[in-house]
Symmetry: none
Subunit: 209 residues, 4 copies
Amino acid sequence: MIYNDKQLQIIGTAERLFANKGFDGTSVRDIADEAGVNIAMISYYFGSKEKLMEALFSKRSSDINLQVETLLHNEEIAPLQKMESLVDSYIDKVMQKQQFFKIMICEQVINKNPVIISLIHDLKKKNTEAINKLIKDGQQKGAFKKNIDVLLLINTLIGSITQMMLTSDYYKEYNGLQDIPEDQFFEQVKEKMSKHVKFLFKALLTYEV
Amino acid sequence: MIYNDKQLQIIGTAERLFANKGFDGTSVRDIADEAGVNIAMISYYFGSKEKLMEALFSKRSSDINLQVETLLHNEEIAPLQKMESLVDSYIDKVMQKQQFFKIMICEQVINKNPVIISLIHDLKKKNTEAINKLIKDGQQKGAFKKNIDVLLLINTLIGSITQMMLTSDYYKEYNGLQDIPEDQFFEQVKEKMSKHVKFLFKALLTYEV
Amino acid sequence: MIYNDKQLQIIGTAERLFANKGFDGTSVRDIADEAGVNIAMISYYFGSKEKLMEALFSKRSSDINLQVETLLHNEEIAPLQKMESLVDSYIDKVMQKQQFFKIMICEQVINKNPVIISLIHDLKKKNTEAINKLIKDGQQKGAFKKNIDVLLLINTLIGSITQMMLTSDYYKEYNGLQDIPEDQFFEQVKEKMSKHVKFLFKALLTYEV
Amino acid sequence: MIYNDKQLQIIGTAERLFANKGFDGTSVRDIADEAGVNIAMISYYFGSKEKLMEALFSKRSSDINLQVETLLHNEEIAPLQKMESLVDSYIDKVMQKQQFFKIMICEQVINKNPVIISLIHDLKKKNTEAINKLIKDGQQKGAFKKNIDVLLLINTLIGSITQMMLTSDYYKEYNGLQDIPEDQFFEQVKEKMSKHVKFLFKALLTYEV
DNA sequence: AATGAATGAGAGTTCATTCAT
DNA sequence: TATGAATGAACTCTCATTCAT
């Protein structure tokens, strides 16, 4: 699906508003006003508010295809390093696309729109498969232990990152970082999260119970 | 604050609907209908839809005071065991009060109502302090390593559990558990999560990098 | 009709609120709250909000029976002086019972409640008759001219006073009296109005065209 | 501000209903129904019921700019005649726009909406200034006495006319005019009022006390 | 292709009143 | 006698969507 400039502008505005006010808390008037387009354009271009959400979701989902392929076939990189590289990739993705992930979280909770549910399901499936390949690869090479529950691994990965995202205000306050610039804070958090999750992954992938 | 039966019924219904359809996706008419009360009762008892949310949040928050005190002062229990006991307690809490936690997640994303924000903040503060005590205690006794980031620890704890909650449908499908009874599934998940998080905690608390 | 203390309190509060916010702009809850009584008491004591208005109107109307009788039969007082005395009496009445007159003005405009309309009608009739007597008396004694239109006379009397009441804020500002105490302002206005209306009455009653 | 036909229709209907039932006694449904438009149109066109009132008030206010200018600069007309011409102009205005004046009276009593208050204030200011010019002119030419209180003059003018408006039913009954056609009654009242107020003005402007 | 005008449906809230106690 | 609890009805306003142009 290819969108013109106005459609992309609408999608971008909708993403921001859905992320900050929720789907039901955002009116098409809000979106139209902030996007600087006529109200009727949303229905005209996307059919309905709901279909706009689906378009936005579909678009952003397709942007999040992990570049796991190159990693997988590069035999020179050690399995754990591959996985660590993947972890950084995830952290980057979530931090860069916070708004989309916020929307995704709420949609998972509310669980109403079957199209969205299906898209999320596909996303999860791809993630699971990609990481499963890495795990299998590592296990074959003897770098990873047996009996790794990939879903628990992913849960901890995604859960830790999104939880940080949800509690960043509290994190800032607790660490006295209220006044540092946002981008600087981002870098700091990413650094911390990276070390933290890599440590967890190393444990989950290599330490025997 | 003490509520009568009808108020509790309204709160309970509101909790379920807010969790499943979101705050803005739930109308007071929905709540009134499902609770079997007159629509005017919501304003009559709580003042407004927003204040009903606050009442519900306030009530459930006060219910989630962790019984960490008894753990803390029992000198016979080893620090790691104390922490593991706490982990189980958290998992129980979240699994039992899934609806409330779903609401809390969305409220953190949307971040609109200052009263709710404040209540969530308080909840986090209490959690942080309680776990910090346990960590300090364990460090003094030499059971835990130095340089433990308590917020990252909690993020991983809460994040892993809530992520499991959000993805339980996918988890079921992936593990072919679609057809087992809900309570049985719960037990299985709790068991898994317990082992998983305890393993993570042991690593975070005791393994040097 | 005799009212107990609580009923009188309700009537007093209702009068103030009806005067300041209008009948339809005042809720029975407002009245009950400000009067410090239970909401149900208004219906209980008066039957309805409308009947409360009628009770209030009826009560205040009966309070406004002019003491014209003594004037009429005092043969020692000259007709013009009698009339001037009556003018002062009216000015006093209106200024003292401003709230009631405000209500009466609005009720005349809205013209909805037949009971109120009837009470206002009676009030006007009594006024007309009383002043007519004075006029006839003055004419018989040769003090007043013939062909006096009593209704125009009364209109100018009442109209001038109530108009002053309605525009007192503007009058204050125009004359730089914003900061003087309210009672002092009242006295000043009454003095001015008295002279002004007496002058008009003298003209209307004695000057030939 | 320019309004289209539907907006003017709404304003016209609102004026009639506000005048007859008061602002709070008129629902937007009433207005929409009687104007034959969809209920949502009121908010759509004017923003809110309150803003509709302001629009109506603003529109009618701007219509009431007295044509005093031509009078002022015509040196051939004697001051008293100028003033009498102005009196007739006022009487015409109020009688023609009775509904608006009824609304204005109630708004002055209730005194709630600051926009309306401000518009009324402006109207009064313009009136005062216009009449003040005429008075000064007449005084310079020796036609009017000194020490004329312009506000009392206006109060009596406006007060007498509006009072007549409020009591026209009683006036009809008293004079046995219940059955004559409305327009004929209007003419009769205007004629009477004109003579009456001109007489008052002549006294106020020329007779020494 | 694009949009201003318009609308039925439904939102949250307040209303005057009733009723069991 | 007096009232807290409760309610159906009505309130104003916003909603997503449609339609003629």
